[in-house]
Amino acid sequence: MSSNGSRAADDTRLWDEARGVIRSRKGGWVIGEAVYNHGYSMMEELVGQRSFFQVLVLNTVGRLPERRLAEWLEASFICLSWPDARIWCNQIGTLTGALRGSPVAAVAAGCLAADSRMYGPGVLEAAGRFIQQAQQRAAAGESAEQLVATALAAPRPPGTRPVIVGYARPIARGDERVEAMERVGQALGFERGPHLDLALRLDTVLARDHAEGINLAGYVAAFLADQGFQPTEIYRLYSAWVMSGVQACYAEARERPAEGFLPLRCTDIHYQGPAPRPLPPRAEEAADRPAP
C-alpha cells in the first residue's frame, strides 16, 4: 500500500482506464446524427429556441433554466459591461488595442484580469460561500448584527482593512447596479428568497454601522443561491462577465493611433529604486586584481 493507504504503489489502473478515451457527461458531436448537450439535440432543440444564457447555464451546470432566469443573468452581465477604460480589466483591452493585438486577445486578457479578489467574477465564489454559510447560521438563530460582527472580526492579512466579500467596492461607495437588478428581478416576477433577504439585511446593518453596503457580486451571489446555484457554479457562469466592456475599450483604442492611450513620458514614472551606480566587476575578475 502507498503512504495514503488507498492504493498500491504504481497502481496505474485509474489512468490506464482513461488512456486514449474521452468520457463525457456533457454531450458531444455524433457525426452525421446530432450535437448533443445534456441530452438535448442542439440544432433541433436549442438553436433558435433557447437563449444563449439558457445554454450557458446548461453547459455550465447541466440544467436548462427557465427563460426569465436567463434574462436576469443577461441583465447582470450588462451591469459589468461598462465601456470605461479606467476599470482595470477594461484598460487591458484598451492597451491591447493600442498595441494592435487581436480583439480575441483583448477580451481573453481582460477576462483573465477580472479573475480578481477585488472585483469581477473572481470574487463570486467567495461571495457565494459567504452568503450560503451566513444563511445557515441565520437559520440557526444568529442575527444580522452578529453575522456582520463575526465576518468583520475574521482573521486577515496584516495591514488590510476588514472586508466582507460581496460588500463594499473599490473607487466608490454604494452600488447603482444593485438597484437596477432589483428592478429586473421584480419585472421578471422573482420573489425574494432567504439568501437575498439575508444579504439585504446585512446590507442594512453595514450601511447603518459602517457606511458600506452590498455590491453587485454580493447581490448576484445571494440571488443565485436562492435559485439553487452553488458558489462554484456561479463563478463558472460569470467567467466572461466583463467581456463586453473590455471589447468596447479595445474597439475604441484600436481605432485611435497606436500607443495613443494615456501616453506616459519617462518622467511620468515615479522611480523609487536605487540611484544609478556602476556595475561591479565579476567575482573572478575581482579575484585576479592585486589587493589594494
Binding site: T12, Y36, S41, M43, T96, L99, S102, P170, A258
Partner: protein, 270 residues
Amino acid sequence: MNGSRQGVEGRGEQFASGVPTALWLEQPTPHNPYLAERCYCQGYDLLALMAGRSFVEVLYLLFRGELPSPAQATLLERLMIACINPGPRHGATRAAMNAGIGRTQRSHLLPIALTVLGGDHLGGGEVEAAMQQLSARKGEAPSEVITTLPLADPSAGDHHPLPGFGSRYGGIDPLPGAIAQQLAALPAAGPHLAWGEALAQQLAPHNMGWLLPGVVAATLADLGFEARQGAGLFQLLAAPGLLAHGLEVARQPITAMPFPDAEHYVIERE
C-alpha cells in the same frame, strides 16, 4: 434525444495514434510507465545539461536543435538582456501592472501581459512580420529598399514603413539603435543585423530608425531562428520584466496607481 441529420458524415481521415515531437524524449521507469526517469532535450540528457550548460545554451538547443557556438550563445544572451524588460511605460507592462494593482490572480499576470505583448505594434506580431520581411528583402540593397517604402503616412501617430522599423513617439527611438549597434558588433552577428543597421541609417533622415521588434527579428534571424518562432520568443524574452512589474504593484493599494478622476475622463458626444 431528438436529433438526426442527413448528409453529414465524417471524412474518414487517418489520425496519428501518438503525439509527435522531435524535441524531447522521456524514458519511463521500469515500474511505472507514466513516470519518466530520464529526459533528453534534442538528445542531450537534461541532468547533464543542468550540470554543464548555461540556460541560454539550452534554450537555443531546444528551439534550434543543436547547441550554439560560444559566440551564438553570447549573442542570444545579450539579446535576452536587452529584452528583459519592456519598461513600465510599455503597454504590455502597464497591462501587468493593471492586473497586479487590480488584485488579479497572480498566476494570471504573466499570461495577461504576454497576450498584450502579442500585438502587431511593438509586439510579437511585429517581430514575426519583421523576420518575414528581413528574410524576403535581405538580398536587396537597403538604399534601394528605402525607395520602395511608403515613408509618408497620412494617418495619425507613429509610422512603421517596414515592420521593425519606424518612428516612436514621433522620433527615432535611440535605445533599439544602441542595442542593435552592440549586437551587430558581436562575432555571431550576421547579415540581418548588418542589413538592418544599413536600413536604419537610410531611414534616419526621415526621422525613423530601428524599433525593438526589428532588432529582435534581425538577431533571431542571424541566430538561425525562423519567423514563425519570433513572436513567441520575443514574449519569452520580455516575460521577466512584465512579471516583475506586475508583482511589484500587486501588494500595493489601488491608490498607488493613477485612476483618472471625472475631470480627466472626457466622454465625447457623437
